[in-house]
């Protein structure tokens, strides 16, 4: 049987996508457990259900391309290459955290990976992503700026200012909307006069496409195409990935605004389960091999929790550090 997947990527890369989605899920579900135990505090927004977007998109981007995201960004950081141990330690507020415990869940950052931050003011990342693209173009660097945001962010002024600016200055920005249908508890049709978010890009003369955000290969192919187009033309492009979060907005949200039937409908489209089936159907991996990948991912997460638990708290004198240069 001809493999459709193999026509796109070699086996090893396909399995890497699977591994990254599984690692993301294991990480998030472990976070929920650590939150319940009181080890993780503050706000905690989990990515379970949306893995295909971060994983497919990161695979489609070049290594040096900037990534900016919002506050549901653990998976994006880890998939980009952030050490799960240091991410978990950050969530625990420990000195060994990726931001020394000063950012927490919503503010992961690693410039070495060109992962330029999780931002927790809705829409705050748009102008910053545009500015990074400007710097890259000014310095004649071969990199673009990928800006991830939710459906809730498109009614902020920064979305409109950012799109207008990126097109006006012809900057290499890939806008990726993760449309999971809800801004906290408000369904997208209750907040947006035009809920087809990709169509809004027309107003700024930016081409855009809507894709299935539950299909990692669809995301990969669309982003790869978009990245090439943005590079070639030095112009912005927008992708709207339709996806769904399986959990509430944050750990504090019981999710009563969604019907059980709706949630079940989307869980039946679980991006990990769907991809596992395709990998097995196309004989790229057996069920047992995929289970081994899952177990290894679970072990990485367990190790991350142990590392976070055993890590020291920040010293008191850290409180005045890292504010000014």
């Amino acid at each position: 049987m001809d493999s459709k997947l193999r026509a796109i990527l070699p086996d090893q890369e396909l399995l890497k996508l699977y591994q990254q989605m599984v690692l993301s899920r294991e990480f998030e579900e472990s976070c929920a457990e650590q939150y319940t135990k009181g080890h993780i505090t503050g706000f905690l927004h989990l990515y379970s259900g949306q893995e295909a977007v971060a994983v497919g998109a990161t695979a489609g981007l070049h290594k040096d391309d900037y990534i900016l995201s919002a506050y549901r960004e653990h998976a994006q950081a880890i998939v980009r290459g952030a050490d799960p141990k240091r991410v978990m330690a950050e969530l625990f507020g420990k000195a060994t955290g990726i931001c020394k415990g000063k950012g927490g869940s919503m503010h992961l950052f690693d410039p070495g990976l060109s992962f330029m931050g999780g931002y927790a003011i809705v829409g705050g990342q748009f102008p910053i992503a545009v500015g990074l693209a400007f710097a890259a173009k000014y310095r004649k660097e071969d990199r673009i700026s990928a800006c991830f945001f939710g459906d809730g962010a498109v009614n902020q002024g920064t979305f409109h200012e950012g799109l207008n600016w990126a097109r006006l200055w012809n900057l290499p920005v890939l806008f990726v909307c993760e449309n999971n249908f809800y801004g906290i508890g408000t369904e997208v049709h209750r907040s947006s006069a035009l809920a087809d978010i990709h169509k809004r890009a027309c107003g700024y003369d930016i081409p855009a496409v809507r894709i299935d955000g539950m299909d990692v290969m669809a995301v990969y192919e669309a982003v790869k195409w978009g990245v090439d187009w943005v590079r070639e033309n030095s112009r912005p492009y927008l992708i709207e990935a339709m996806t769904y979060r399986f959990r509430g907005h944050s750990m504090a949200d019981p999710g009563k605004y969604r019907s059980a039937a709706e949630v079940e409908l989307w869980k039946a489209r679980d991006p990990i389960v769907g991809f596992a089936k395709r990998l097995a159907d196309e004989r790229i991996a057996t069920g047992e091999q995929l289970e081994v990948i899952r177990e290894k991912a679970a072990a990485i997460v367990q190790e991350a929790v142990k590392f976070a638990e055993e890590s020291p708290w920040p010293e008191d004198d850290e409180v005045y550090k890292d504010i000014y240069v």
Partner: protein, 328 residues
Amino acid sequence: MPEMTYRDAINLALKEEMRRDPSIVVLGEDVALYEGSFKVTRGLLAEFGEERVKDTPISENTIIGVSVGAAMGGLRPVAELMTVNFALLAMDQIVNHMAKIRSMFGGQTYLPITVRAPGGGGSQLAAQHSQSLETYFMHCPGIYVAMPATPADAKGLLKSCIRDNNPVMFLEHELLYNSKGEVPEDPEFLVPLGKAAVMREGKDLTIVAYSRMSVLALQAAAELEKDGISCEVVDLRTLNPLDTETFIASARRTGRAVVVEECWRTAGLGSDIAFRIHEACFDTLLAPVRRVSGLDVPMPYSRKLEKLCIPQVETITAAVKEVLSEKY
């Protein structure tokens, strides 16, 4: 030393720094082709070209946000907000982003951004264009605030701000643009951040001020000298870092102080300065510190009313005389 205006001193600082460092870009509304609403960026487009001198859409929040991104990406942006009043549209990027990014990302990046913004009252521009918002910025950790009073300081401070690796709000006073003074020609002339200037020495009382209020304080001191009153005038120059040492040492020496602020009185920065003096000099003060402030009202247009809202030379001299008449 050549004499030049505050406007030209700022313009020269921009040109000198842009010649020195190709990573500096200037961006803002009407800064390029139109050469700035107050003509501060005159000649920049002609000399440095449209790659480095950028007109922007009227999107203040994004002017700052793009500067933040550009700074993270290796540039040294100098953004102009046409007036400080429009900074209120950009407070999300200024306070939630520019001021926080270094700290919340664990010191892994830094933002060498200078945000220039003219402001202050006295031009009959009414409520929305006459504000003195310096306390807003001074209140927020993570951003420096510079407010020069003289052409020389305008040049030397702006150059320091541009070279500094922290984000700085560089607040210019619209009524000072045409003021003249001697300005050092040396392109390496810098005024350090966090160092107040004793503009005039005196023994009876210390006047602490900044920006245009320092200019009025000097005029008040000259008036008071005629009455045999000797005032020391301390110009803060930067509100953050704040050189507490200089004004506290001065107040300890004179035993009396008046703080002059153009901003609104309630929760204005003058209360913080006055408190610091009280706290440090309680045992040696001869009278409570007095504040001369902007009135707690939205600025009226009529020049007769506007004048009442902004500290004047006469209100400063009156305050000084009252403090000198008090005995404790």
